[in-house]
């Protein structure tokens, strides 16, 4: 329990962190995203734009110079990240050490597993466009590096889920189909069933049509109904109700802020 004294940082041009689709306005925010999103910063995060931001906006010329020198001398990229955490006085020494250990544990992973970790993380952050691209990278690896058939089935399944959330039902169907072909999972079949109900125009192969039983269709319909009921009770809807009960000025202002938030979320999902 403590209060951390903040540096005065004259940030005029916030740093845009593409990984999360947010702008960063302080050294504390920069440290926070590095520490909490290691998978998103492990490759090429420390670049000229970031160094310019550290030097000009955070007014940390010494750190910027150190980063440039370390980069030029071919220093390990992970050490550059640890250096930023260390210099910004937001995380303590023990926490920076833990961060280093986390990075090295990721580095020890086989490439396909590491990419999956990253793609899963992006998916969990609702960055479906980016997660789809990451899953695709695994499938583009040489055959021997793609992992077992079970692993590949999981990748196809997750790729399908990403496409589905991007409303690309055709691509989602193809990914689910490949996953099903590999492991014949009933869960995957159920997802195909969901897709077909969601998009009745979807063309499903005869081979799979046969497997979608009446019972499965009913089960899928029930799931959908439950999901719709749950959605009606969502907190965001309750907030919206509250907003519409406010006076016109506050309602208008709140609606503007909400639409802006939705737009940002949508951009992040699709990017």
């Amino acid at each position: 329990m403590s209060l951390i004294l903040c540096r005065q940082e004259p940030v005029k041009h916030p740093y845009y962190f593409e990984g999360l689709g947010v702008r960063l306005y302080s050294s504390q925010e920069l440290c926070y995203v590095i520490y909490n999103n290691p998978l998103l910063v492990m490759e090429g995060f420390v670049d000229n734009a970031l160094i310019d931001f550290i030097r000009d906006d955070l007014d940390m010329a010494f750190l910027a110079l150190k980063l440039v020198k370390w980069q030029q001398s071919g220093e390990d990229g992970d050490e550059l990240l640890a250096l930023i955490l260390h210099e910004c006085d937001y995380y303590n020494g023990a926490e920076v050490s833990r961060f280093r250990q986390k990075l090295s544990s990721y580095r020890r992973m086989p490439e396909a597993e590491f990419l999956k970790e990253r793609a899963d993380y992006l998916f969990s952050r609702k960055q479906y466009g980016k997660s789809a691209a990451e899953y695709q990278k695994i499938l583009d690896l040489p055959k021997g590096s793609r992992g077992s058939e079970v692993f590949q089935a999981k990748i196809y399944n997750n790729l399908g889920a990403s496409y589905a959330r991007l409303f690309m039902t055709d691509k989602a169907y193809l990914a689910y189909q490949k996953s099903f072909d590999l492991v014949k999972s009933s869960e995957v079949l159920k997802r195909i069933c969901h897709l077909s109900q969601w998009n009745p125009g979807l063309v499903i192969s005869e081979r799979l049509k046969v497997l979608i039983t009446e019972e499965l269709l009913q089960e899928s319909g029930q799931d959908r109904k439950e999901a719709e009921e749950k959605a009606e009770q969502a907190d965001s809807l309750l907030e919206l109700d509250k907003l519409f009960q406010k006076d016109p000025i506050k309602r208008f202002q709140g609606a503007g802020e909400l639409v802006q938030k939705w737009k940002q979320e949508y951009r992040n999902i699709m990017s």
Partner: protein, 407 residues
């Protein structure tokens, strides 16, 4: 000369003006008069003159009027006390400007018997109306002006205690200062006492009244000065412009003590203070504890470079009116802030806790807390705590906590 450093002793009866490094001074009755048939304004003796001949309408007790947000109707027009004070100040500031052929005010230090927030705000407003930038205007108490005046004298004048009797039309005050030499910094502790024995100066015009006044002063001096070692004593105010009425008191006051008559002591002290404001390094490196200055230090325990330290937000001896600060802190798993208030006697230090009520629940270290401090008077600190969020990651809410803390 590239600007005047003006010391202005503003009282309800008289106003004294002097400039740093200039001998000439002015003592003007604090009155303003408007001519009955035209929009012409006069101050001081001129105002009395126009009123006596029946050409003008006079307004006095301007400070009291401003404090009470009062108004005066002159020639059918209602004027606010604040506007009358502004006009009065404009007129009297012209005196040194014309005398020394200088239009610019480099520093204006106003000294008041009692400097409360209302009159201080009003004087700042007057400064705005007169086109004097706020950073050039300062308001200090009589006690503080006395401290600066005394400490600008030779050391032998203030090596022990120093006292001043201020006898004016509407009050009788005694101020006393003591210099304490500390290991790190010198400290000056000055106090002010409004004497209940104040009397109307008109009684000094009769022999019996003079005798009574002499008795009053003697008894006050006897009570206030006994068993103390004084380096010097000062006498100031309209009542001491002549002292033939006080033979017994003078005998008592001058016994083994140096006594100085200084009619414009407070205005001179204010001008010296004004000069010091302009110095990069103060010529008076001491902590001054007196009316108008904070008597306690307020600090917070913060983490900086992984070390705990006390962040001083206001130090004892700071001018409370000018003591304003703000700081941003990151809250790490705690739902309150604590201030340490350390008075002159460190044994009496205490912690004041303010809960961050209504602040959104967020993960640790993702709430930036903006804290602003200011003072409503020397014993009341106003704190504003604002949720600044954590950038776009955790947007700020509208939560603001305002609290007054008694020091």
């Amino acid at each position: 000369m590239d600007g005047l450093i003006i010391g202005l002793d503003l009282c309800d009866a008289y106003t004294r003006i002097c400039c740093h490094d200039r001998e000439k001074s002015w003592c003007i009755p604090t009155v303003i008069c408007r001519k009955k048939d035209e929009d012409a304004w006069y101050v001081g003796e001129e105002a009395y003159a126009y009123t006596l001949v029946g050409e003008g309408i006079i307004v006095d007790k301007l400070i009291k009027m401003v404090r009470k947000e009062g108004t005066a109707t002159l020639g059918g027009i209602k004027y606010e006390g604040l506007n009358l004070l502004t006009m009065f100040l404009k007129k009297i500031l012209k005196l040194p400007m014309e005398e020394f052929f200088c239009e610019e005010v480099k520093q204006l230090v106003v000294t008041l018997q009692k400097a409360d927030a209302k009159i201080m705000d009003a004087l700042m407003y007057c400064g705005d109306a007169l086109g004097i930038p706020r950073e050039r205007i300062h308001i200090v108490s009589h006690t503080e002006a006395f401290v600066y005046y005394v400490l600008s004298q030779k050391k032998e004048v203030w090596s022990n205690q120093v006292g001043v009797f201020d006898l004016s039309e509407d009050s009788f005050h005694y101020h006393e200062l003591k210099v304490q030499r500390g290991l790190r910094k010198m400290m000056v502790i000055a106090e002010d006492e409004a004497l209940e024995e104040s009397f109307n100066l008109d009684i000094l015009d009769t022999p019996s009244g003079g005798k009574l006044a002499d008795k009053i002063l003697s008894s006050c001096a006897d009570r206030l000065l006994q068993k103390k070692l004084f380096s010097s004593l000062f006498l100031t105010g309209k009542g001491f412009e002549r002292h033939d009425w006080a033979p017994d008191s003078m005998k008592l006051l001058c016994h083994r003590r140096k006594v100085f008559m200084e009619p414009e002591l407070f205005a001179r002290g204010a001008a010296i203070r004004g000069m010091d404001y302009l110095q990069e390094k103060s010529a008076y490196p001491f902590i001054c504890i007196c009316e108008g200055r904070l008597h306690s230090t307020v600090s917070m325990r913060v983490l900086h470079k992984e070390r705990e330290s006390q962040l001083v937000v206001a130090a004892a001896g700071d001018n409370w009116y000018e003591s304003k600060s703000s700081v941003d802190l990151i809250v790490d798993n705690q739902d309150y802030v604590e201030f340490m208030v350390t008075p002159m006697d460190p044994k009496q230090k205490r912690l004041i806790k303010i809960d961050l009520e209504g602040f959104p629940k967020r993960p640790g270290r993702t709430t930036r807390l903006g804290i602003s401090f200011g003072f409503l008077d020397e014993k009341t600190m106003a704190v504003v705590l604002k949720d600044k969020g954590f950038g776009e990651l955790f947007p700020a809410s509208d939560t603001i906590i305002r609290q007054e803390v008694m020091l």
